[in-house]
């Protein structure tokens, strides 16, 4: 029999299996914590920090995707402190993001945009230097626009786990960090992968997308953005 852990989640007593993360327990209990880097079935990266929650007795907010639950833990997933932190995180992500939702190919399914809307981020308060990288659209299977990349690293992990080595890695450091192909080359016609769709589907922004031919139906279902 697995060990049970009892905790308090948003004022409600819940029990969980030992080893589960706060995020998993919350989702199991129908509580929606936004995430941008988390991928089910992979070890958590803890890159985006969007999943932070308040744990009573903890000095700082903790990342729920990589923090296991413990006995007696008291967790608040949507306290004012948490919501304020999440909102600022998204604002900071958007500070160096191109203002192009209006013409963005993935606007209908963009997780970043949906989360920004859900958190009522509103018009930008912060403005940072934007990254401008050329759109890589030579390959028939994938279009990369690294100006829109939020460095969640999902594509890196997805590619690695696809089993044929990894095409993408994070290079450079700090603000210059970038997901690169080869030695920071453009993804050209010659680049092949049996499963480009895997990383494209996981990319939470418009940084990776599928070339759509004129007249072709879009496969993805639109995200519903709360009004």
């Amino acid at each position: 029999m697995e060990n049970k852990v009892n905790l308090t989640l948003n004022g409600r007593a819940v029990s969980a299996r030992q080893g589960m993360t706060i995020l998993e327990v919350a989702r199991e209990n129908g509580i929606d914590i936004p995430t941008l880097c988390y991928l089910e079935d992979f070890s958590p990266m803890g890159a985006c920090r969007l999943c932070v929650v308040e744990v009573e007795g903890s000095r700082t907010l903790v990342g729920s995707c990589h923090t296991p639950v413990t006995e007696g833990m008291v967790v608040h997933t949507h306290s004012p402190k948490v919501l304020a932190a999440r909102k600022i995180l998204v604002e900071l992500l958007l500070a160096s993001h191109p203002d192009s939702c209006l013409v963005c190919d993935k606007a209908n399914i963009c997780e970043l945009r949906r989360i920004a809307a859900d958190l009522e981020v509103g018009l930008p308060r912060f403005h940072a230097r934007k990254h401008y990288y050329p759109v890589e659209d030579e390959n028939p299977h994938i279009i990369r626009d690294m100006s829109k990349c939020i460095l969640c690293r999902r594509c890196v992990i997805a590619c690695k786990s696809a089993g044929n080595g990894s095409m993408f890695s994070v290079a450079y450091r700090g603000f210059e960090s970038k997901v690169v192909f080869g030695c920071d080359q453009l993804v050209d016609e010659a680049a092949v992968c049996p499963d480009f769709d895997g990383c494209i589907a996981l990319c939470p922004s418009g940084a990776l997308r599928k070339p759509v031919k004129i007249g072709e139906e879009r496969a993805e279902k639109a995200l519903i953005i709360k009004g």
Binding site: G165, V170, R173, G182, C183, D184
Partner: protein, 144 residues
């Protein structure tokens, strides 16, 4: 090999061998990265990711001498900006650039651990401390 495709030793070996290439060629040429990737059985983008992360490894050719001025707070407060400007003026290049004759590359670095003698800079392996704009001409003259 671990399940992630990189053994711990492989990764350690990678940094060591990148450092070797750096001191042999003054930078890490792409051919070397390709060879390393092949021998360690990791993708070349992985090698590039590591090589481009460290400021003491360069993926592009540098000048014969590399100047690194600290741009962290203690040096800044002690007037590093005036030193940076003095170097710019002396060499006619901005941080990130190399002189056309290949004599100097000029970079800004984060803390180099010489805060007590700020402002400080490294030229190749040599530390120069308590800098003033006036000292720059003389120091640079020592490097051919």
């Amino acid at each position: 090999m671990s399940e992630k495709g990189i053994s711990t030793l492989g990764r350690e070996g990678l940094i060591l061998r990148l450092k070797e290439a750096q001191s042999k060629f003054g930078y890490v040429p792409q051919e070397v990265m390709a060879e390393l990737a092949q021998s360690l059985e990791i993708p070349i983008n992985e090698v590039y990711g590591v090589a481009s992360f460290y400021s003491f490894l360069s993926t592009r050719p540098l000048g014969r001498n590399v100047i690194r001025i600290c741009r962290s707070l203690p040096c800044y407060l002690k007037g590093a900006q005036t030193v940076i400007e003095a170097v710019e003026k002396e060499l006619g290049i901005k941080p990130g650039e190399t002189t056309p004759d290949g004599r100097f590359s000029f970079q800004l670095a984060n803390c180099i651990g010489l805060c007590d003698q700020a402002p400080a800079m490294l030229i190749n392996q040599d530390a120069h401390v308590e800098l003033t704009p006036e000292k720059i001409t003389q120091i640079l003259r020592m490097y051919k």
